[in-house]
Amino acid sequence: MNPIVDLRNIRKVYDSKVAVEGLSLRIEAGTMFGLLGPNGSGKTSSIRMMIGITAPDSGTVSLFGQPFTREALRRVGYLPEERGLYKKMKVMEQLIFLGQLRGLSPAVASARAHAWCERLLISDAVDKRTEALSKGMQQKIQFIASLLHEPELIIMDEPFSGLDPVNAALLMDTLVSLREDGKAILFSTHRMDQVEKLCDEIAIIYKGRLVLEGGMQAIKSRYPANRVHISYAGDGGFLRHPAIQSVKNYPGQAEIRLNDGADAQALLAAALAGGARITSFQVVEPTLEEIFIETIGSNVDA
């Protein structure tokens, strides 16, 4: 089956600054794809090229197995990072207008918009002017606007930024259920912790280049589970155990990184022997953030 998005070796230069260099990506249907990287690493530039807002200087963009055409945009839902709505318009008018621009009839747009507003718990805002709403509300409205035409590919640039945890979770749940419907979803974020549990696949870009790409599980399994989180009371003398490479010691808690090949069991035994009371002992994989820092670190060295 053709991938939904297929970027081949794309490159974009703004004046003297290279925004994206030699980026290749494939996104399959039914995938939640996380595009990660720090601010200014080229995430938004890549997304803009993906949907034809800007054209790549070289390389090819294919959507739904075809070279890019504007026709394909009918099947794409896009939530830009720079969010905007017409401030003076009422919420429902706005949603219907944006739905119409995407080819819906006013009646269909209205029905879907009402259904979505209910689903995202903002039904009582539909008759208000957009400028009277909170930022989080406006973000939900944009979220809805990008989904009204039931796109097969959903692209969201920093969809959770600026949302409180409750609303962020609501949007995440919505995205998960959309993925279950077989949509391809790409979203970008600089908050690595958000994507760990959400993404099937990730790509990390740094300074315009792809530094890491692949399935979430595959990437994580490449890195050994050499982190230990301990909650303890009493003597912390075991923290000087030779298996420990580094430690962050918080009151009653320690985050430990072990030396390569060291065994966590030995550390636990030493802690118990030293008289500490262990309430929790957990061996964990590195977080995405740690993997990212490690990757960039090695990349800088290379």
Partner: protein, 409 residues
């Protein structure tokens, strides 16, 4: 096409529903009319009431000038006629310096050397810029000299008065010429206002979309060109609606029994020809000036930045206002013909000349052709600036960057 229509419709409805639209629709003609007719009335009916002194050895001459200035055609002044002594001059100079009794100046008349020659007139004003008083003095002196000369030729006072009476020309068959001129003038300033207003509206609506960051959402569905076209149609349609309201109102005032009830003074205020050309020139002017405004709006990030650039819109309009005075005096001079063919000026100046009834048909046709060509050229450049500019936030682009934008596809 559907997208352009949707954009235009949104733009139109949003603007036409505002209170500002209704207020402007009522206020602009009222203000313009008040300015043109009220200003004209005041200019014709106000007389100078300044205080001057006339110093002449010839007391009869001084009295004659005094009579003209105190109760003449354009003046209602206070006039002193002190005797010509050195003390008088010193006293008058002191009075001028100290601003005594609001004295604005004095006229010193030195008798002529030869009998048939004119006396020498010296006027010393308090303010060198007071040309109105100076003109009043000149007029009065001229009348007095004429009277003197005619008396010497042997005419009686009654004969002289009859000779110097103002001339009456009857124009009642075509309506008051002052009203017709006032209407032309009114249309001129109305056009000025709407070009300015709707040009700025176009620029402002682009900046609004830029600051609200709505462009990215839109551009993921439609092209910048569709967006631009929709915007121009939408804003332009609002302008046409407003003008439509005004012209309908003017038509009702001019051609219905209601107009007759108001009396002959207002009949034939604005003719159908004037209305037709006003609308036609507005459409072209709007496209021309809005194309510039599009580029200005796309380049800037805020209203404040736009303010700094709006001289590009104001300058051509201001130029027209300057030119209108020479066109009033000579509507068919070469100068008038040339400036009214400049595309930026045609909507104001050619339209004004049409109101006065002078230009040849080929001039009108040429003005539309030149405007069309300019619109195409400017829109071509502006749409390119627009395409890139709407996604550029942050600093204002330099000229070099702008030229590079033109080459982006």
């Amino acid at each position: 096409m559907r997208n352009i229509w949707l954009i235009a419709k949104r733009e139109y409805l949003e603007r036409i529903r505002t209170k500002a639209f209704i207020i402007m629709t009522v206020l602009i003609p009222v203000l313009m009319g008040g300015l043109v007719f009220g200003g004209g009335y005041l200019a014709f009916s106000t007389r100078s009431t300044s205080h001057v002194a006339v110093v002449a050895a010839d007391a009869a001459f001084a009295d004659g000038v005094k009579r003209e200035l105190e109760d003449g055609k354009g003046a209602h002044m206070r006039v002193d006629t002190p005797p010509p002594t050195p003390q008088t001059e010193a006293a008058l100079n002191a009075a001028l310096r100290d601003n005594e009794n609001d004295l604005v100046g004095y006229l010193w008349v030195t008798p002529p050397a030869a009998a048939e020659a004119r006396p020498v007139f010296r006027y010393k004003p308090r303010s060198a810029g007071d040309i109105a008083t100076e003109q009043n003095l000149k007029d009065a002196i001229k009348v007095v000299l004429t009277r003197e000369r005619l008396t010497r030729q042997g005419m009686s006072l009654a004969e002289i008065d009859a000779l110097l009476l103002p001339v009456d020309v009857d124009t009642s068959a075509t309506g008051s010429s002052k009203t017709a001129f006032g209407a032309a003038y009114l249309l001129f300033f109305l056009m000025y206002m709407v070009i300015m207003l709707y040009g700025m509206n176009t620029a402002r609506s682009i900046i609004e979309e830029k600051t609200s960051r709505v462009f990215e959402v839109m551009l993921s569905t439609i092209t910048p060109d569709q967006m631009l076209a929709g915007k121009l149609f939408g804003v332009g349609a609002v302008g046409l609606t407003q003008i439509g309201i005004w012209m309908t109102a003017a038509g009702l005032l001019s051609y219905t029994p209601f107009a007759a009830a108001l009396g002959g003074g207002v009949h034939l205020l604005i003719t159908p020809v004037q209305i037709f050309f006003f609308v036609a020139y507005f459409i072209f002017a709007f496209l021309l000036y809005s194309s510039i405004a599009v580029a200005l709006g796309a380049m800037t990030n805020s209203e404040q930045e736009l303010q700094q650039l709006n001289m590009f819109l104001v300058m051509p309009l201001a130029f027209c206002v300057v030119m209108i005075f020479s066109i009033i005096n000579a509507p068919d001079s070469t100068l008038a013909k040339v400036v009214s063919l400049i595309p930026f000026c045609s909507p104001l100046l050619m339209n004004f000349r049409i109101s006065l009834g002078h230009p040849q048909p080929w001039e009108i046709v040429t003005s539309f052709v030149l405007m069309s060509l300019s619109i195409v050229a400017i829109l071509y450049v502006a749409s390119r600036i627009y395409r890139v500019g709407i996604l550029m936030y942050g600093k204002k682009p330099s000229v070099g960057e702008m030229l590079r934008w033109l080459r982006y596809s």
